[in-house]
Assembly symmetry: C2
Homo-oligomer: 234 residues x 2
């Protein structure tokens, strides 16, 4: 399955400004992207980066973090990357860029197109496999807070709209074009890493590059309040 992975090279992860510097946020975003690409490949998908600009240096799925930060010896040893990940550069807003890509690919039942966000650092091949195998002309993995973290499109008439509560909008758009909708119930796919509290999920459930990056950056769990949050060493 063709899997588009949108990635913004311009000031990524601004909602993590209270924890990381701009350079760190860029590095962290890239470590998450490496994990997402690895999970897509291991789920049998063919990822294509949909980037807002040329990615420099190129993302190397399994070695990126090591180039940037020391990764401890017990960091996960993933298999070799089967092939370079192709990149489409499109500087336009996310919705426009994805819809244009859907136009080019013309998804059908036998040749669906998936869109998987680059900050789903908890995505596993198993979770993505559930999404890829879900029925429906459109299969959606909703994000926490009403977003659309991943979807599979099998109807060429379907269009995305990532503004606002996109999960509800996408259900509505599917209904308008007569496309059936399947919803995938996954905590891993619902957890896009946007805010400070999301980092706790990575430390609790993650085992990839992004989790190693966080630990190396001195971010640890803080269980002093109701839900477990994170704290960073000074």
């Amino acid at each position: 399955m063709e899997v588009l992975v949108p990635f913004s090279t311009d000031r990524p992860k601004t909602r993590l400004s209270d924890v990381f510097s701009p350079g760190e946020r860029e590095s962290f975003a890239r470590s998450m992207l490496a994990d997402v690409l690895r999970a897509v490949i291991d789920a049998g998908g063919h990822p294509r980066l949909l980037a807002t600009a040329d990615i420099d240096p190129p993302i190397e799925v399994d070695t990126y973090v090591e180039a940037d930060r020391h990764v401890e010896a017990d960091a996960p040893a993933n298999g070799p990357l089967p092939a370079d990940v192709p990149v489409t550069v499109d500087a336009r807003p996310l919705t426009t860029a994805v819809n244009d890509a859907l136009d080019r690919h013309e998804p059908t039942g036998s040749e669906p197109v998936a869109v998987v966000m680059a900050d789903l650092a908890l995505a596993t091949p198993e979770a993505l496999d559930r999404l890829f195998r879900a029925g429906g002309d459109v299969a959606i993995a909703p994000g926490r807070g009403g977003g659309t973290n991943a979807l599979v499109v099998r109807d060429p008439a379907f269009r995305v709209d990532y503004h606002g509560a996109s999960y509800l909008d996408h259900r509505h758009i599917a209904e308008e074009v007569g496309a059936s909708v399947a919803v995938v119930d996954s905590h891993r796919l619902a957890t896009d890493i946007d805010e400070r509290s999301d980092l706790a999920e990575l430390l609790i459930h993650g085992d990839g590059n992004a989790t190693a990056w966080l630990r190396d950056a001195g971010v640890g769990l803080d269980a002093t309040n109701g839900r477990v949050g994170v704290d960073r060493e000074e």
Copy 2:
């Protein structure tokens, strides 16, 4: 499967104090409990309330909300309650009460015992069925923030500890007693309704008593910021 549903009658849902009065929080907590009991029953489970005190008036799974607030005509029409839900009253802290109940029930592979939190208002029979059918001597549905929102115990040596990051603690305890662990990846089961932002999940994905209660209380989605939150009419 025997399914314990712990429920605190004493000042429930204090972290929703910024949205609801004490009386409203009690009413809302009961509407969520009714939804959880319905989902457990529809998943084939036999729920038993583990309450900190006598529940007065008794919970009526399908009609509770109507007794407290007007429910609109399009509220979900659930089937009749197959039987009254038995109640065990135990005023001790959650961990002690659950472990004592596990002692009494002596869970085994053929007669497991589940523990499902009373604020999982998004739980569906399908999500609970995945939990009930998951392998492992212990099956855990982690909650957002490191909690344990639901689990199935098939090993009488396993003990719970709900303090702090209980998901990680429960994995550790299972390891100590040689019990295998299965983890259920479910956004619905990961979403315990504790804080203001959780209410958005109910409005987006819910269709039970608790969602009807929220709408009737004037709580609606607010999409003005990054993630969709909630707003309440004055």
